[in-house]
Symmetry: C2
Subunit: 210 residues, 2 copies
DNA sequence: CACTAAAACGGAGGCGCCTCCGTTTATTAC
DNA sequence: GTAATAAACGGAGGCGCCTCCGTTTTAGTG
């Protein structure tokens, strides 16, 4: 589960300062983030940093040089995953009809949140502390969803009176009931249901989808 | 995880509780809380638990038996201090005129909060997690303050149109500006100012007080 | 008092966190 | 290619967390 697309998104230092990082340093940094993403997903945010360093084939000192605190590392991983999620929106939009793209993305969103629910507590703290991070990330997600919805509306495959923040809210609701064991299947069914609701009354027939 | 104390989930952290606790256990528990209160005030909530145990003259194992997690210990200390603060209200009310009691208590309140501001972050997390704790404690404080105010109103030494939650809010505002170095003196001045405002228009002259 | 069971004690041990600094490596200049 | 320098590496070391379990103390009972 949680198999990340191996496509290692190019993690360039970006932002305001494009500071030249030495080749080995960049390599190690990427490896650390990659391993940390898996470790956090598997063991939660309390995963052993020493083990992450070991798995990444670097010393613990290297990890701490790149990420002075655990929170730094968590934040980078979190941003990366959210960005990957948003990038998937574009990707899906390119290769599928708008309504299919929307549905698949919503399912991916729910999967993503579910994977992260172990981190919920710590993430909540992190997001409380760093509210800029929160608004930044939720802004990106909102934008991605809105674009998918607008495309589907323009295409006529879903009804036009859809408010994207309502949909996001609904997705959040689906996420917040992960008690049982088959939450995954249930979530998928709920997403389908939601999608049917969105298709209802659309100008274009849902069945023909082509 | 295995050895659960005979006391079931119901656990009342009260020093005066008549609990079936062995004499030595009670002694050690009290000592730990006492030492922890000082340690947390001095070094913040991240104070070394091993050092606390050492200072209390017990082994680290004993500390963990009484308080399975750091948060347990912090909570007990916090409750104790809040209760002591509230008890001070009664104490002051007995030995001073109502308005003097009110003023002194407010100053003590501000001092208390200021002392704890190092713990603010952790306490906030704790109070988020344990909202029962929050409402419980803030309820007690509110009650103590209201009683002091009502006594002063009845006595005629402060005006009668005073809302106790407004005053609490004002005290909170005083607390929330502890940047500078002389915050302590400033806080006291602000408390005095607030008190003057409360005295303004009272039926009884504030000056004559002794 | 002696005796016993249960309760409590305490600290060693294993692990993770984080810092510090001697060693290694990439890069740049010749 | 070699040399020089800054950047990066990595792991030992010291400390704190928490658990586990053999030892000690207390509270009963006769």
């Amino acid at each position: 589960m949680a198999s990340q697309p191996p496509a290692t998104a190019k993690d360039k230092p970006d932002a305001t300062a494009a500071k030249p990082l030495r080749a080995d340093a960049q390599r190690n940094r990427d490896a650390l983030v990659e391993v940390a993403a898996v470790a956090f997903a598997t063991h939660g945010v309390d995963a052993s940093l020493e083990e992450i360093a070991r798995h990444a084939g670097v010393g613990i000192g290297t990890l701490y040089r790149h990420f002075p605190t655990r929170e730094h590392l968590v934040e980078v991983v979190y941003r990366r995953e959210v960005e990957s999620l948003c990038a998937a929106a574009d990707e899906l939009a390119l290769h599928h009809p708008p309504d299919v793209a929307l549905e698949q993305w919503m399912q991916r969103f729910v999967d993503y949140i579910a994977t992260k629910r172990g981190l919920a507590t710590s993430l909540r703290i992190l997001l409380n502390t760093n509210s800029a991070l929160f608004s930044d990330m939720s802004g990106r997600v909102t934008l991605a969803l809105r674009q998918l919805i607008e495309a589907a509306v323009a295409d006529g495959s879903i009804r036009s009176d859809v408010d994207s923040s309502d949909v996001l809210h609904a997705l959040g609701g689906i996420y917040s009931a992960p008690d049982t064991k088959d939450w995954r299947d249930r979530s998928r069914r709920l997403v389908s249901l939601l999608m049917d609701g969105l298709r209802f009354g659309a100008t274009k027939s849902a069945k023909g989808g082509g």
